[in-house]
């Protein structure tokens, strides 16, 4: 019986399709005539008419962002800082991370990364709550409880592995964005890299939600933060280099990439 059902519905569909095809062929011919005069400049590049049409549609998707170039009052400073951060990466961070990578096996470095990530639960938890995502906040709490105990201080991630509890990273910049705060102008921060006004302000509350902030000794704090960065970089050597090769103009590339990425994260 089941196999017959599609057949029955197939017949009327076929009839409709044929009649529609006739109707549409009239329509599309009409459209093509209407469009011709405007598109004469592009004809040589795209001889096929249907292709031409769809390309103009595609253009719409990107046109908006380019028509209004982003506000960038700090571009001079930002370019300098991009250059500075770039040098810090190649002269300091990368060599140190590569040395560290040569000594410490990958499994251990992944575990250390998970440990530091687990520590940031308060940031994710709070911002999920602020965005009224109680379920995600709850998941973050559950992850923290599981990973800090069974996962031995967060070095392992049994929550994701065995309980399918995935992290929901949210920060205060995203929380602000969630409530409609615009990004403001772009700012490249020393050492931290691309940011914007909104996300830079967002760093302050997040800073106070980061347990490392409450380590008493300044030098220990600095060491912990540096180690965290070196460990992270050791797992991602080559990615920045590869990104950089994609850039025709590094600053514009990183700025645009950052802003698009943040938009996407806020949207989610």
């Amino acid at each position: 019986m089941r196999s017959q059902t599609p057949r029955i519905s197939f017949k009327p569909t076929l009839v409709l399709a044929v009649s529609l095809a006739i109707l549409l062929s009239g329509c599309s011919a009409h459209q093509a005539k209407n469009q011709k005069p405007d598109d004469s400049t592009l004809q040589q590049a795209a001889p096929a008419a249907p292709e031409l049409e769809s390309e103009f549609e595609l253009e719409e998707e990107f046109a908006e962002a380019t028509e209004q170039p982003p506000l960038d009052p700090l571009s001079g400073y930002n370019r300098l800082m991009t250059h500075f951060n770039d040098k810090v990466y190649f002269w300091v961070l990368k060599p140190v991370a590569q040395g560290y990578r040569a000594v410490v096996p990958e499994g251990a470095r992944l575990a250390v990364g998970r440990f530091f990530n687990n520590l940031l639960m308060p940031v994710r938890f709070t911002n999920n709550l602020l965005q009224l995502k109680p379920k995600q906040a709850g998941t973050e709490l559950a992850r923290f409880a599981l990973n800090s105990t069974i996962g031995v201080l967060g070095f392992a991630d049994p929550a994701a592995k065995h309980f399918d509890l995935q992290p929901y990273p949210e920060d205060f910049g995203q929380t602000l964005g969630h409530y409609g705060v615009g990004s403001g102008f772009h700012i490249v921060l020393p050492l931290l890299g691309p940011s914007n006004l909104r996300d830079t302000i967002g760093l302050i509350p997040d800073h106070f939600l980061d347990p490392i902030t409450y380590v008493d000794d300044f030098e220990t704090r600095l060491a912990l933060r540096s180690y965290k960065q070196v460990n992270y970089t050791s797992l991602h050597v080559g990615e920045y280099e590869s990104l950089k090769k994609d850039a025709v103009d590094l600053y514009t590339f990183l700025r645009d990439g950052y802003e698009q990425r943040r938009e996407k994260l806020i949207e989610e």
């Binding site: 569909t13 109707l23 046109a63 962002a65 590869s242 698009q260």
Partner: protein, 203 residues
Amino acid sequence: MRHLFFCILLSLLCIAPAAADDQTEVSKLLQEKIDAVVVLLQDKAIDKNDRNAQIINIVSPIFNYQTMAKLSLGKKYWPELSAEKQTEFSNLFAQRIQESYLEKLDIYTDEKVVYGQPQAVGKQIHMPTTLVAKDSKIEILYKFYHSGSNWEIYDVEIGGVSVIQTYRSQFDGVLSEGTIDDLLAKLKTQGAFQIPESGEAGG
């Protein structure tokens, strides 16, 4: 008016199942290509240049480099170029996209690809995939359009960052201050995939 109404109704009835078929087709097409690339990547014995050439042969039919090149310049700049410049630009751009793609494959060799559900966005079809890396997940969205004969990719979004959009801003930056020859020169020196100096574009 009544005719128009029926016309619309008829088209809705027909397009719905057709669109679902298109989505399946796009999904299948992309998976076929990626699977074929993965097979090549896992073959450690093969010569790298040979491998890269084969990979490009596999994926090129679904990447419409010409459309990508046009979109990256946009209506604002593309129509103003002479036919030769358009060709020169398209070729340099295509080379760039290919080299960039191969380069990314070198970084993420052993990662798993998870396919999402294809989504119809206007007349286009977006195919989300996730690259499961060691300590993170990277979302890669392949955007397909129907070129008249085939479903082809016109843009790729990596973690929400559109390749075409990023090129548009950069090219717009270069072209608002310079000429197409400046841009071509930049693409030529960097088409060979040397690392650009971060300071040189400062202005």
